[in-house]
Each structure stands twice: as C-alpha cells, then as structure tokens.
C-alpha cells in the first residue's frame, strides 16, 4: 500500500487552482460581448459560427477552466495523490486552454482560419498535458474508491471529446472532412454527457452529503450510475458511428436511457437535499438546486427531442444547450466555487498562522450577502437566456447584459477573496 499518499497533505500552491478560477469570468464577459455584437442571429442557428464561438467561450473558458482548477486542487488533497509538477502542469494547461479558447472563438467570430487553427493546436496541447498529468495522478492514487473511478471516467471522456473536437476543427480549419458524420453529435455528447456530467455526478456523490449533511445516495446508485452512463455513451457512439451519424432506434434508446439516468441523479439529489441535516440558508445549496432543476429540464427536453423525430424548431436545441451548459454545469460550478475559494484562502492563511491564532473565517473572507447577490444575477441571466432561446428578438440583448453583469459580480467576489488573502498575508508577515 502506498503510504506516501497521505503525506502530501497541503495540495498544490494556492496559485495553481486560483489562476484557473480567476480567469473564468473573463470568458463569460467575452461571451456576453460576442452576443451583444452579433445579436439575435446567434440564437437562430445553433451551428452558426457566432453560436459555436459563444458556446466554446462558455464551455472551455468558463466550465472547463474551473473544473480543471478544482480537480488539480481536490485530487491531491482528497485522494492523497499529487499532480506531477503542479506549477508547470497548471501553467501549460492554463495558457493552452486560455489562449486556445480565445483564438478558437476569435477564429469563428472573425472568420479567420489561421486563428482557429492556432486555437485548436493550443487547446489540444493544453488538454493533453492536463489529461496526462491527471492519469498519472489517478494511477498513483492509493485507494481506487468510486470518486477516483468517477474521475477516471471524466478525464477519459474529456480526452475522447478533445479528439472529436480536433476532428471537427480539421473540417473548419483545414477543410478536411471528419472520418464519420457522427462526429458532429459525438463531440458535444462526450463533452457534456461524459466529461461534464460524469464529473458532477462523481463529485456530487461525495460532496452533497458532506457539505449539506444529507443522507448518502443509495449504494446501487453510487456503484452503477456513472458506469451505466459511460457504457451507454460508448454504445450510443458506436451505433451512431456505424450508421454514419443517422439516428436509428438503438441510438435513440441509448440516448433516452442516458437522459433518464441523469434525471435520476438530479431527482435523487433534490430529494436528499430536502432531507438535509444542515438547515441554514446556503448559496451553494441554492445553486445546486437550480443546477439540478436545469439538468432535469435539459434531460427531459433532449429525451423527447431524440425520441420523437420532429421536425423540431432550432430553438429546442438551443434551449437544451442553455439548460445543460449554463443552467446545470454553470450553476453547480459557481456553487462549488463559493465553498472552494474561501476555504482555500482560509486554509493557506491558517497554515501560516502561529499556533493558537486563527485566520479570518470563510464568511469573513467572502460575506454571504455578496454570494447571494451574484447568485440572483446568475439566475436572472439564466432565465433571460432561456427566454432568448425561444424568442431571440426581444430577449437576446437583456440576456447578454445580464450575463455580463453576473460575470462582473462573480469576478468581484473572487477578487474579494484574493484581496482578503493578500491583506492578511501582509499583516502576518509585518
């Protein structure tokens, strides 16, 4: 047994996760700016270049950025397995994903192929370094419990999503058609149903009971749900690939089963949270509830969308995307940030305090009222985005402005944490 595992108690330096978190709201702001610039046309076609650019500013610049930062922090601490060369891995991943996302989005927005190509190369490099580091780290974890298993599945799904993404980029950047038409479905499929969804499910199984003191998820669910989703995702992909992107009955059945699996997770989470032992108001809890509600909405809509051939209006697909990315992933991510960032600031300060003295607590570092205000602005932005998906004309501009506002409030909250950390550090050293 690897006893070295538990000796690495402190995790990476605080700059490792924080650099990912701090830059994420900037990408939200850029997404809002792109939406203001291009206006309602963005929401009229899901595969318009502007829509692709905005979706990637959100999915890569915001979602992936924070998920990567959180994983680089949590894996070493919770699993006793350090990320190899944390500073260098973080620097390369951060630069690759950050600059790559900017270039990719700019490439689509301005129709510049060279930017798009450069962006894809930077993204691929950044993600590969991250995936490689994480695989080493997971392989060394002293205990292969089901959180570690969930992370394996999420990281491998990310790798698959990146490969499909590169195939699509070959089409847009180099004019080389992907080997199979199914890639158009498989790239978003592995990004959302694989990487994002499996990570939230795996982490949620542990963190929801821990932070809200709810009962545990039922054992069969923690044992089999993630594996079942991954198996369905593989089957679905194989069938779509064989049929060259055409949705046969078996692909539909797999998709509906995945939608049901995610709905089960969301419903169970809400039921457990209803029975939570900790009854005090909590912004993270509220974010999770919005997230789970959105997950139910997105899964239901997608299940119906694929089970009945339609014709469905384009707005249905856009609404599903908004609910899955902004409503589900965006809410859960913001909610987790409000636990992770103040705690890390406290923890690092505390480890530098003399014996018997205490750093300012989490709520001193970031007051509840500020979290609450940002939460409300994010919910407002979500509601306006859903409305804009259905009625782009009147709602796109208000949605873009609300997104910009919530991005600014989120960044301000993050900077409050950083400032509290720096000020206290200075005082201690004085």
């Amino acid at each position: 047994m690897n006893q070295a595992g538990l000796q690495i108690e402190q995790g990476p330096p605080i700059s490792v996760p924080f650099r990912f978190f701090l830059v994420a709201p900037v990408f939200l702001l850029l997404a809002a700016a792109a939406l203001l610039w291009r206006g309602p046309m963005v929401f009229e076609a899901r595969l318009s270049p502007a829509a692709i650019a905005i979706a990637h500013l959100f999915a890569l610049g915001f979602m992936a950025m924070i998920m990567i930062g959180a994983m680089m922090q949590m894996l070493p601490v919770l699993q006793g397995s350090p990320v190899p060369k944390p500073r260098a891995t973080a620097a390369v991943t951060h630069a690759g994903v950050g600059l790559g996302t900017l270039a990719l989005a700019a490439g689509f927005l301005f129709g510049e192929r060279w930017l798009l190509k450069a962006g894809v190369l930077a993204l691929a490099a950044g993600f590969l370094v991250f995936v490689a580091a994480l695989l080493v780290c997971l392989g060394r974890a002293p205990s292969q419990n089901h959180t570690v298993r969930a992370m394996w599945m999420a990281v491998l799904s990310l790798l698959v999503a990146v490969v499909f993404g590169v195939m699509l980029a070959m089409l847009f950047g180099w004019g080389i058609a992907p080997p199979n038409s199914s890639v158009h479905s498989l790239h978003p499929g592995w990004s959302l149903l694989g990487w994002t969804g499996l990570l939230v499910v795996g982490v949620g199984f542990e963190l929801v009971p821990m932070l809200q003191m709810t009962p545990h998820y039922p054992k069969p669910m923690t044992r089999y749900l993630s594996v079942a989703i991954l198996a369905l995702l593989v089957l679905w992909s194989a069938v779509l690939w064989i049929d060259d992107g055409r949705w046969g009955a078996f692909a539909v059945a797999c998709a509906v089963a995945m939608a049901v699996a995610y709905m089960l997770f969301a419903v169970m989470t809400m039921v457990l949270q209803q029975r939570r032992r900790r009854r005090l108001p909590d912004v993270t809890l509220d974010f999770w509830r919005v997230g789970m509600g959105s997950l139910i909405g997105a899964s239901l809509a997608w299940g119906v969308r694929v089970a009945w051939p339609g014709p469905w209006p384009e707005s249905m697909d856009i609404l599903i995307g908004v609910l899955a990315m902004f409503g589900f992933a965006g809410s859960v991510i913001s909610g987790m940030l409000y636990k992770i960032m103040p705690f890390l600031a406290w923890f690092h300060l505390q480890s530098m305090c003399g014996p018997g003295t205490l750093a300012p607590n989490m709520k001193k570092i970031l007051p509840d009222a500020r979290q609450r205000l940002q939460f409300r602005s994010q919910v407002l932005a979500l509601v306006l985005f859903c409305a804009a998906a259905l009625w782009p004309g009147p709602f796109v501009y208000p949605a873009a402005l609300a997104l910009a506002a919530t991005a600014v409030l989120l960044e301000m909250n993050m900077l409050i944490v950083v400032r509290a950390y720096r000020d206290n550090l200075k005082q201690m050293r004085a």
Binding site: M1, Q3, G5, L6, Q7, E9, V77, L78, Q79, G80, P142, S143, N145, H146, T147, F205, E206, P209, M210, L211, M213, H216, Y217, K219, T222, R277, R278, R279, L280, K339, F343, W346, F347, Q350, P355, G356, T357, L358, N361, M362, K363, K364
Partner: protein, 155 residues
C-alpha cells in the same frame, strides 16, 4: 462515509467503528449550528458542549490509541498519522474560537467559523475514511477486538 470504504474483505471493524463515530460528530455539529442559527443560546450551549466533547473523544481515540498502535506496527511515526494530528490541531483551534463566539453570543462569527470547520472536518474525514482507516484495518486487524473494546472505553 461508508460509501467509500467497500473493502469488507479486510474490515476488522475498527474503520467502521470510527466512521460511525464521524457520523455522530456530524450530527452534534449540525445540532449546535441549528441552535445558533435560531439564536437559541441556551440550547446552543448544551449542543455545542456535546459536539466539543465528541470531537475531543474522537481525537483521543485516534491520538492516544489507534495512531500509536499503528505507528508501532509500521515504524512510521512521521507518516500519514502525523498529518492527521496536524489537522486535529487545526480543528482544535477552530473549536476554541467557536466556543468564544458562543460565549459572546456572536452568531455571525460562530456561523462563519462553523462553515469553515465543516469543510475542514469533512476533507479530513474523507482522507481518514478513504485511505487511513483501510490501512489501520490492515495493519491492526489481528488486534481488532481488543482495540474496539479500548475504543469503547474512551470517554
């Protein structure tokens, strides 16, 4: 967290016993926090003392019984148990300040501290339940019954 320790084949019951006690600590923690949230100071005082007592008892069980036995067997005093001891010390400092906040009837301070304590305690428990208790069960398995009796007698 029982869910992350499906290693029944090597379980001697020490890990299970300690995990069960983690849950009891969670429960008294939540009760004290509830009472402070409701500004019911009399109840808060009683619940807090129960919570502080259970935490002390837990630290005692580990620091005075399980960890020394584990270190004796593994000859590994600077290893994982040392990290757990440091984290216990961190928790003790927070509990100390929670008591001060309670005495001053400062709910805001108490709730900020209890939020911090919760995250600190849960990540600590996660490491113990996911890794250390499995090691302890493996290393101290042959003394399971004796140790369980001794754990029970820690007051």
């Amino acid at each position: 967290m029982a869910s992350i320790t499906h290693m029944e084949n090597i379980m001697t019951g020490i890990g299970d016993y300690m995990i069960h006690h983690h849950k009891q600590c969670d429960e008294v923690f939540a009760r004290a926090e509830d009472a402070v949230g409701a500004a019911d100071w009399q109840r808060a005082q009683a619940e807090f003392e129960a919570f502080a007592h259970q935490m002390d008892r837990h630290f005692d069980m580990e620091e005075n019984l399980l960890f020394p036995e584990f270190e004796k067997k593994t000859g590994h005093a600077g290893g994982p148990t040392q990290v757990m001891r440091m984290e216990h010390d961190q928790m003790r400092v927070v509990i100390h300040d929670m008591r001060s906040a309670l005495e001053a009837k400062d709910a805001e301070q108490y709730l900020g501290l209890s939020e911090t304590f919760l995250v600190l305690m849960q990540q600590h428990n996660f490491k113990e339940e996911g890794i250390l208790y499995n090691m302890i069960d493996q290393v101290l398995g042959d003394q399971g019954e004796k140790l369980l009796a001794q754990l029970d007698s820690v007051v």
